[in-house]
Symmetry: C2
Subunit: 256 residues, 2 copies
Amino acid sequence: MQKVVVIGTGKVATQLTKAILVAGFEVVQVVSRSDVSAARMFAEMGQTLPYTIHKNEVCKQADLYICSVKDDAITDAIDGISIPDRALLVHTSGSTESTVLAPFAAHYGVLYPMQTFSYGKEVDFSKVAVYIEANSDIFENRLHIFAHKLTPNIKHVDSAMRAKVHLAAVFACNFTNHLYTIAENILKEANLPFSDLLPLIDETTQKVHTLSPKEAQTGPAIRHDDKIITKHLSQLNNREKAIYQLLTESIQDDKL
Amino acid sequence: MQKVVVIGTGKVATQLTKAILVAGFEVVQVVSRSDVSAARMFAEMGQTLPYTIHKNEVCKQADLYICSVKDDAITDAIDGISIPDRALLVHTSGSTESTVLAPFAAHYGVLYPMQTFSYGKEVDFSKVAVYIEANSDIFENRLHIFAHKLTPNIKHVDSAMRAKVHLAAVFACNFTNHLYTIAENILKEANLPFSDLLPLIDETTQKVHTLSPKEAQTGPAIRHDDKIITKHLSQLNNREKAIYQLLTESIQDDKL
């Protein structure tokens, strides 16, 4: 698989396209919803690529079609594109079954990069874990060979396992990052910058490289330090108070 | 301030004592609740120090008395120890007012290292932010000079600001770490190891070094990807479901 069509122009599509080019593959076309979306993607990449906004103009000479759009939009984005019988169609979603692609291609699968992608932040793709799946061994093998040029960290999982991986990633990344936002807002009340927390955040992350998260747990909740917990709750508004209470109860639950 | 007495033998006391020794100060005595606690601390440190379990035997020749125990236990741990008038007494708590020490010493204050300390994980103290406070400028200055040999990262804050810092730290560190525990449990259901998440966790942390947490936010909640959110909720038990819902609502709240 050398020639790739990328359907989508968002954050994952952009970073993935960059990694595909760096690995030496040819991105023969990008399929975009609009000229503006394509322009934004190419500006972010620092280079332009052939693209179309018309589904009937999608290149038929590629070996691999990668649909990387918001999960809700996958089938709409592909519907109307004719995928050649000898090619593989994949999406990049953590939580969408591979079989949603069955109506559109003989050979289909998933290439899910478990990583958080933001504009303005380069990602070292060789450190990204990629979860793959295909509806035949032959194409899963071809997809493995392709993905292995992007990162050594490839896992073969079915859709049910991948959904668990994605759910775990939401807790470990998306929700974690939101707790940083809450922490930033609390520090603002004392006129202190978020950057004051970075050594603590770095150490929290470093610890779970050598200890299990359960062993690494510290703080008033695990110490059952009720006096401090009560004081903290009194400083919080309704929603943050509910979050504090729920996470404290969860930490104190021995069953975990 | 050269001669130090450390009251307490827990995780913070242990790491702080190590850092004090490395900085070239003399820990003239450790005050422990029991022989067993003292032995555990010295085993963790890899060296023994003079210690006592009797409050009437606490050394009166020190310049600095550091009480590093669970917040609830601070006053009990100090009560009965006679602190010399020329010395400074501090505690190491994030959320306890400095004034709880007023009944026990003429000069008192706080030395709060904002870091997460666990047994079996060395901490580079030079990267720790230390928040200090004292009830006179002279002693606050002396405490600054002392603390500056432990880390260049010293902040002068009053008890109200320090309480905010500690509350922010609970969200950014303790609660974040607990989300790792939940993620680990979800991965276990798919027989996958927690270590699979480390590249994602590392990148999540790295991102907030260059983007604000709000800019760095990704995932189904911020994308309002309701189909995925519903699917995720259906996979969770009651408490994790409540945590997922509350954090999703909080991410989607524009006011933050």
